[in-house]
């Protein structure tokens, strides 16, 4: 079983090849897990809110805790004005969280370990936030690149740095998530391979590592979803309130 640890990230087409114009839109294992993620989120929340009661049952409590967790996060970082974007950020957080968590199941596929997925999400956030900023502040939104209280001499340099940092937001946002998920899963696979190759004699040490790493990766899975959502809130805050 000396499989390539990168093999797990391979995208395989399921069923017939579908093409839309010149684009290949075949259903793949990645698409399958996207559907699974969405279905599990939706079914969890539908079941949890099935019989709404004044005193919630366990599922309802968990659902409400997630709701309040995200609501609090948005309120604290982006304020009351970010209320209309609550559904989007909640969807984003849940999508990333469930993708990461379902990816922790052995032999499953981790959607967020693909840069194209995380980058697509990040670029949507980037353009969305930029559009919101311009709609709200007009051309004055460009003041975001001119921090207050900076000496005039340094201003050109600062503006360039600010623009670069603004433009690199989608890259840093997407690479952070993708790299974390890929690195974690690769490590797990490598140690899993060691367990098999060292066999009954020496396989116990890497097995212990695997167990510890699994725990760590579950933490990372949650943390990265949280970071992804909170950074989105921070970008949104920049767009809603110029000069924080």
């Amino acid at each position: 079983m000396a499989a390539n640890p990168m093999q797990q990230f391979k995208v395989k087409t399921i069923g017939p090849k579908i093409e839309l114009g010149s684009f290949d839109i075949s259903f793949t294992n990645s698409s399958l897990f996207m559907v699974l993620v969405v279905l599990s989120i939706v079914s969890f929340f539908i079941i949890a809110t099935q019989n709404k009661s004044l005193i919630p049952n366990k599922l309802q409590l968990v659902a409400e805790m997630i709701y309040e967790f995200v609501a609090k996060m948005i309120n604290e970082t982006a304020g009351q004005d970010a209320r209309p974007y609550f559904p989007f950020i909640l969807s984003l957080f849940l999508f990333v969280l469930f993708s990461n968590m379902i990816g922790m199941i052995p032999y499953s596929f981790t959607i967020t370990s693909h840069i194209v997925v995380t980058f697509a999400l990040a670029i949507v956030i980037f353009f969305g936030v930029t559009v919101i900023g311009f709609l709200k502040h007009g051309i004055k939104y460009l003041e975001l690149f001119v921090p207050k209280g900076v000496p005039k001499l340094l201003l050109p340099l600062i503006i360039v740095i600010e623009i670069i940092s603004y433009l690199s937001r989608p890259i840093s946002l997407s690479v952070r998530l993708f790299a974390n998920m890929m690195a974690g899963h690769t490590m797990l696979k490598v140690f899993g391979g060691f367990v098999v190759s060292l066999g009954l004699v020496g396989g116990w040490l890497p097995l212990g590592f695997s167990v510890a790493l699994t725990g760590l990766e579950i933490l990372v899975a949650f943390l990265q979803a949280y970071v992804f959502a909170i950074l989105t809130c921070i970008y949104l805050n920049d767009a809603l309130h110029l000069h924080h």
């Binding site: 995208v11 990645s30 929340f45 709701y67 559904p87 989007f88 969807s91 840069i115 997925v117 697509a120």
Partner: protein, 189 residues
């Protein structure tokens, strides 16, 4: 030209991906993933926005309403209790004031009465004292006349026994009067 560059980039990226062994960098898997991401995430967003969030916030708001209603009621009851407590305290204060007033008045009355009784008794005492003094004076006077008479009789008898003669009573009387006078003046001194 542009397409050539694109193809070149495409193939070089694919080659790099192949070399590094990262399937993520294989551009042929990008399009289907983006397409399905849009569909699934769009569906998720719609469901969360239109179905899940209203249901969740409904039950949360209902609970918050219920809690705030209960809190309001509790506040109302607490206010009422406070008002009752205040009126109760007022009543107690009033009663205390009245009681102290009554006590004060009674004290005054009693003191007045005691004073009156004292005065009356003093008056009676004075009266009695005067009467007694009068009696004593009368008795004194009477005793003096008695003493005079006794002295007169006694001296008359003594003289008669001794001499067998009767002396003029008037003479004896004058002597006795003088002696008494002398005695009285000595008493005064």
């Amino acid at each position: 030209m542009r397409t050539i560059i694109f193809i070149y980039l495409y193939t070089s990226a694919a080659e790099a991906a192949e070399k590094a062994g990262m399937p993520q960098l294989d551009p042929s898997v990008w399009a289907p993933q983006i397409f399905w991401l849009i569909i699934t995430f769009g569906f998720l967003y719609l469901v969360i926005w239109k179905v899940i969030l209203p249901r969740l916030s409904d039950s949360i708001e209902q609970r918050n309403d219920h809690i705030s209603d209960n809190l309001d009621e509790a506040k109302k009851v607490a206010n009422e209790a406070e008002i009752l407590n205040k009126s109760y305290e007022e009543i107690i204060l009033k009663a205390k004031n009245e009681a102290s007033k009554i006590i004060l008045n009674n004290k005054k009355d009693i003191n007045q009465k005691l004073f009156n009784i004292k005065k009356e008794t003093e008056k009676i005492f004075d009266k009695k004292l005067k009467e007694v003094e009068k009696d004593i004076n009368l008795m004194k006077k009477e005793s003096i006349t008695d003493v005079k008479k006794i002295a007169l009789d006694l001296s008359d008898n003594i003289i008669f026994e001794m001499t067998g003669n009767k002396i003029d009573k008037k003479n004896i009387e004058d002597t006795i009067k003088e002696i008494i006078k002398n005695e009285q003046s000595r008493e005064l001194n």
